[in-house]
Structures are given as structure tokens and as C-alpha cells.
């Protein structure tokens, strides 16, 4: 399994097609938590389940003002068809050309198969990786780790706020 970027690392910025004629950059999402969900391919059954689960949890993720972004090496047209078929409410990015270049930046590329790992990154408001996890490629990692990361992030922010205000008070 690949060595994915660990927590504490600044998440490398990138720009990828989100539709056949639009791009999205990670820096566009600065100021809110972001989940990068690398997955091997559109249409394969396990991925379908994973994306279906995140789709279902979209309202829950919004409670944390978080944006979920799926990334695979499929092209923007393929993503468009997949998203339409599954009624996905979040963007899918095409790490298509040069193939897998963003996945490689995150250590989430499978050279032998030529596809992304099933890797999750929760990135904080400042663009730093807060939590990351690489699942065995055939296993849908679920969402418990993501929700736990959001909560820990919120707690850290609150604690930090308390430290700041006690500093000001003294």
C-alpha cells in the first residue's frame, strides 16, 4: 500500500477538471474543511457504495461546512455520466491528464494498476491535512473516520479559542 501524506502536512494545491469545461482548485475551498476521497474508478461496485454513502451523508457533512470531493483517474465525461446515474451531490475531479498526477502528489497512486488508492484526506480550514487514511482497495472505508476527524477538528478549534481568550484575560 502506498505511503500517503500524513496529518500535519500542508495539502498540495492542485487544479483539476470538475466538468468537461470547468476546473476546481483546492485553494478555492480554503476556509472550510475539505474531504478528498481518492477512489480507484467510477462504476466499480465498491466505489459506488462509497460514493453513495457520502452522497447520503451530504447534509451531515454540511453541518460541519465541509466540502467532499471525489477524485479518480476517470475523465470528466465519465464522471459526468457516473454522477448523473448516481445522483451525486458533490463534485468529482478528473485526475486524467497527466494521469494520476494529483494522486501521486498525495502518495495515493497505484502504479501497477494505474489508478488511485482508496485514500481519504480531511483537510482543515487552513489547508493542512488533519487526518488521512488509506483503505485496502477493495474495502469501502465508510464515513466514521471522517466524522470523527470533523469532531476532533472542531474540538481543537474550541480549545484553541479558550486558550486565546484566557491569554487575553490574563
Amino acid at each position: 500500500m502506498a505511503h500517503i501524506l500524513p496529518p500535519g502536512t500542508v495539502a498540495p494545491d492542485f487544479t483539476l477538471p470538475v466538468t468537461p469545461d470547468q476546473n476546481l482548485s483546492l485553494s478555492d475551498l480554503r476556509g472550510q474543511p475539505v474531504v478528498l476521497a481518492f477512489y480507484p474508478a467510477d462504476w466499480s461496485p465498491v466505489c459506488g457504495d462509497q460514493m453513495a454513502l457520502y452522497n447520503e451523508l451530504h447534509p451531515e457533512f454540511q453541518k460541519y461546512k465541509a466540502e467532499v470531493v471525489g477524485i479518480s483517474v476517470d475523465c470528466a465525461w465519465c464522471h459526468a455520466a457516473f454522477a448523473k446515474d448516481r445522483h451525486l451531490h458533490f463534485p468529482l475531479l478528473a485526475d486524467f491528464e497527466p494521469k494520476g498526477s494529483v494522486a501521486k502528489l498525495y502518495g495515493a497512486y497505484r502504479e501497477k494498476e494505474g489508478c488511485c488508492e482508496r485514500a481519504l484526506f480531511v483537510i482543515d480550514e487552513d489547508g493542512v491535512i488533519f487526518w488521512s487514511y488509506c483503505s485496502p482497495v477493495a474495502v469501502n472505508p465508510g464515513a466514521d473516520g471522517i466524522l470523527e476527524a470533523f469532531e476532533n477538528m472542531k474540538e481543537r478549534r474550541q480549545n484553541h479559542g479558550q486558550v486565546e481568550s484566557s491569554r487575553r484575560a490574563s
Binding site: 454513502l53 447520503e56 451523508l57 445522483h87 465508510g142 466514521d144
Partner: protein, 183 residues
């Protein structure tokens, strides 16, 4: 091994003896074909173990891919409020391809419940919060699709075909010699 984060309690739909040595929890979706496949297997497994097994069903509808899953769950919860959960649960799984409001209303009628009351309840999403609570409890426990099973609070990841599930449950029953000692 993933654990069941919300323990089985009074609010759960449960079949069988509360004191049973093994509790099997299913997170399921009424429109999921795999859950439909699991349904008669669960019935056979329950019959096989009798009082040794308690079965609990929790809702995990993937509403974006299964357009009738949520209303079916709401109909089952409506029936539950009238003490008829398991009858509704069974008939829904036995008629998975017919789900939709007309059929659900008819099914309620056949159980002696009011079809109109059911329609109102579903339209007002009377029991939706409970279904969402089930769903989130599943997410917290690492449920990633359906059906997902937990045996005595531990995620069961192996095959749930009849013989495999029976084997897994048997392995968690107290040994026969120990049982003799207890009695």
C-alpha cells in the same frame, strides 16, 4: 474489528429473547436487493437457533440510489407504532419490486391498518427522524453499505449465506459443557 457504537436498547425493533446468548443486528435498506436476498436467510437462521438468538433490524436507507427505501422504512415505522413492525417488515421484503405509495398503502390495509393514516404519516415524515438516527448510528459504527451485520456488537464481515452465518453464530454460543454447568 468495528464495534456497534449504539448498543441494542428498548427503542430497537427486536425479535427473540432479550437474554439470548447471541444478538444479531442488521443495518438494512428495504429496496436493496442484497437485503432482499438476506431476508429469508435471516428467517431460516432465526428458526435454526430459536431462543438462542435475538435479531434486531436498524434502518440504513440509501435514498439517493433507492428512491422508495425511505418511504418503505417510514411505512414500517408507522406499522411499528401500531405494534405491527415485523409483519410490515416481512411483507416489504417479500414485495421489494412493488414498493411505492400505492402498494405500501395497500399493504397497510391488509394488515388491518388504515391506508389513509399511513399515507398521512409518510407525507408528514412522522418517523423520519428515527430512521435518520438509525442511519447515523450505523455510520458511526462504520456501516458502509447494506446489509451490514453485527454479532454481539462486533462487525461481521464474512459471508452471510445460511451456512456461514450459522457457523459464525454457533462459534459465539456458550460451549455445550458450560451450558450444562449453568443449568
Amino acid at each position: 474489528m468495528a464495534k456497534l457504537k449504539v448498543p441494542v436498547g428498548q427503542a430497537d425493533h427486536s425479535l427473540g429473547d432479550e437474554q439470548a446468548p447471541v444478538t444479531l443486528v442488521e443495518y438494512g435498506d428495504y429496496e436493496c436487493p442484497h437485503c432482499g436476498h438476506a431476508h429469508p436467510i435471516i428467517q431460516a437462521v432465526r428458526k435454526h437457533f430459536g431462543s438462542q438468538l435475538r435479531f434486531v433490524f436498524r434502518n440504513f436507507p440509501l435514498t439517493q440510489i433507492h428512491p422508495h427505501a425511505e418511504m418503505a422504512a417510514e411505512a414500517a415505522e408507522f406499522a411499528a407504532a401500531k405494534g405491527r413492525f415485523w409483519e410490515m417488515h416481512d411483507t416489504i421484503f417479500e414485495n421489494q419490486t412493488r414498493l411505492g405509495m400505492p402498494w405500501l398503502a395497500e399493504a397497510a390495509g391488509k394488515l388491518g391498518l388504515s391506508s389513509d393514516e399511513l399515507k398521512t404519516s409518510v407525507a408528514n415524515h412522522e418517523f423520519l427522524q428515527r430512521i435518520k438516527d438509525d442511519f447515523m448510528s450505523g455510520v458511526r459504527s462504520g456501516v458502509n453499505g447494506t446489509p451490514t451485520f453485527f454479532i454481539n456488537g462486533e462487525r461481521y464481515e464474512e459471508s452471510w449465506e445460511f451456512e456461514d452465518l450459522v457457523g459464525a453464530i454457533e462459534a459465539r454460543l456458550p460451549k455445550k459443557t458450560e451450558r450444562r454447568k449453568v443449568s
